[in-house]
C-alpha cells in the first residue's frame, strides 16, 4: 500500500501563502550582534530576487546606496562589495558572514521569507498567521513570525515582520529583524 500513515497534518495552508520557487521580495532589516564583546548594529534595506536556480540579493544602506550584492548559485555563491575584490564560496552563509562581519542565513531565508522552515526534528513546517510559537530551525536559528500582511482578503496571509535570533561563537547573541515590504511571486 502506498502509505501507511497520512502525512503529518500541517497547519491549514489556507492561512499562509504557498511557497513558490521564483519570487521578487524587498524590505528592510536590522541586525544586532557582538563583535569581540562590543555591541554592534546595522540597518539597511534589501531586495531579494529568487529563481529556481539562483537568488540575487542586494543589500543597501538606509539612504539607498548598494553595500553588497550576493548571488546564491546551486554550487557556488559570489559576493561583491564596493571597493573590494569579489568573493566566492560554496556556502553562502559563511560567505556573507565573513564579508559582512555579521551572520546572514541566506540559505535558510530562501524558505523562511516565505514562511517555510525545516525544524529541529527535520520536519518541514509552515509558519501560520494564527500561531506565535517560534520555530527553531535545524541549523539553530529561532524564527518568530511577528506580523503578517493580510490586507487583501482574496490573498492568503504572507509574512511581514520576521525576527531571527541565534547565538553564534563569533558573533555572540545575534538578533536579525526583517520586514518585507514588497512581495511579487513569479
Amino acid at each position: 500500500c502506498a502509505s501507511l500513515a497520512p502525512p503529518p497534518s500541517l497547519p491549514s495552508p489556507a492561512t499562509t501563502v504557498r511557497p513558490v520557487t521564483s519570487i521578487e521580495l524587498g524590505g528592510r532589516l536590522s541586525v544586532r550582534y557582538q563583535n569581540n564583546g562590543k555591541e554592534e548594529a546595522v540597518h539597511g534595506s534589501f531586495s531579494w530576487s529568487q529563481r529556481a536556480g539562483n537568488t540575487l540579493v542586494t543589500l543597501r544602506s538606509p539612504l539607498g546606496q548598494t553595500l553588497a550584492t550576493i548571488t546564491i548559485g546551486p554550487a557556488e555563491s559570489t559576493l561583491s562589495q564596493a571597493g573590494q575584490p569579489t568573493r566566492t564560496a560554496a556556502d553562502p552563509d559563511a560567505l556573507a558572514t565573513e564579508a559582512l562581519g555579521w551572520p546572514l542565513p541566506l540559505a535558510g531565508l530562501r524558505d523562511w521569507l516565505q514562511g517555510q522552515a525545516t525544524n529541529v526534528a527535520g520536519e518541514r513546517v509552515t509558519a501560520s498567521s494564527t500561531s506565535t510559537t517560534p520555530i527553531v530551525t535545524n541549523d539553530g536559528w529561532q524564527l518568530q513570525y511577528v506580523s503578517w500582511e493580510a490586507s487583501d482578503p482574496a490573498l492568503p496571509a504572507r509574512p511581514k515582520r520576521i525576527d531571527l535570533s541565534r547565538t553564534t561563537p563569533q558573533a555572540g547573541d545575534v538578533g536579525l529583524r526583517i520586514v518585507i515590504d514588497s512581495w511579487q511571486p513569479g
Binding site: 536590522s30 562590543k38 555591541e39 554592534e40 548594529a41 540597518h43 539612504l63 546606496q65 548598494t66 515582520r161
Partner: protein
C-alpha cells in the same frame, strides 16, 4: 555657475529644512531571462518621500514618511536610526560616518573640498549642476551630482559603485529657519528597542 551658487549656499546657510523625494534607479546587472541582450531592464523604485532639517556642522534629521517610517538623526555626536516597523533604534558614534555621504555635502562641515573634488557640470532641467567626486577610494559612491537653482540645492544624483543611481529632489527648501534649542536631541520612541553602540 553651479560652483558659485554652491559656495554661497554653504557660506550663507547655517541651517535649513524642507521636504525630499527619493527614487532609486537600478539597471539590473542580472538581465531577466529572455530580456534582449544588452537591454538590462531599468527598475525604478517607488519614490520615498519625507522631510529633512539640518544645522551645520553634523546635525540633521532625515525622516522617511512614505512608503514606511524611518528616521536618520545626527545630533552632532551620534547617528541614530529608528525604523518603526522594525521597532528598532540603533545608534553609533557619528565620527566620520558622514564622511563622504550625501549628508556631508548638504549638512556636514563646510570644507567640502577636503573630501570631494568639485567640478562644473553644466545646466540641465533648469538647474546648474555641480559634480562632486569623492576623494576617498573606499567610499560607496562613484559620483555625486548636485543641481542648484536660486542659490539652493534642488536635486542630487548619487551613483554608487554598482551602477545604482539614487535621485533626490528637494521641495520647500527653507534657509536658516528658526530652530528649537533641542531640535536635534534624539528621543527614543515609546516601546522601541534600543541597541547602544
Amino acid at each position: 555657475s553651479a560652483l558659485e551658487q554652491f559656495k554661497s549656499f554653504v557660506a550663507s546657510t547655517k541651517s535649513a529644512k524642507g521636504e525630499f523625494s527619493q527614487r532609486l534607479v537600478k539597471t539590473d546587472s542580472v538581465a531577466k531571462p529572455g530580456a534582449a541582450a544588452g537591454q538590462a531592464p531599468v527598475k525604478v523604485s517607488t519614490p520615498s518621500t519625507g522631510t529633512f532639517i539640518f544645522a551645520r556642522p553634523g546635525k540633521f534629521i532625515w525622516t522617511y514618511l512614505k512608503p514606511y517610517e524611518q528616521v536618520l538623526q545626527a545630533d552632532g555626536d551620534k547617528l541614530f536610526i529608528y525604523d518603526k516597523d522594525l521597532n528598532q533604534v540603533t545608534s553609533r558614534k557619528l565620527g566620520n560616518a558622514l564622511g563622504s555621504s550625501p549628508a556631508a555635502i548638504l549638512f556636514g562641515s563646510n570644507d567640502l573640498e577636503k573630501n570631494f573634488t568639485l567640478k562644473e557640470a553644466g545646466t540641465k532641467d533648469g538647474m546648474e549642476w555641480l559634480d562632486a567626486i569623492p576623494k576617498a577610494k573606499d567610499t560607496t559612491f562613484e559620483h555625486i551630482g548636485i543641481g542648484l537653482r536660486d542659490g539652493v540645492p534642488v536635486a542630487m544624483e548619487l551613483r554608487d559603485t554598482f551602477g545604482q543611481v539614487s535621485i533626490l529632489s528637494f521641495l520647500r527648501f527653507e534657509k536658516n529657519p528658526v530652530l528649537a534649542a533641542d531640535q536635534f536631541k534624539f528621543v527614543v520612541p515609546k516601546g522601541a528597542d534600543v541597541s547602544q553602540q
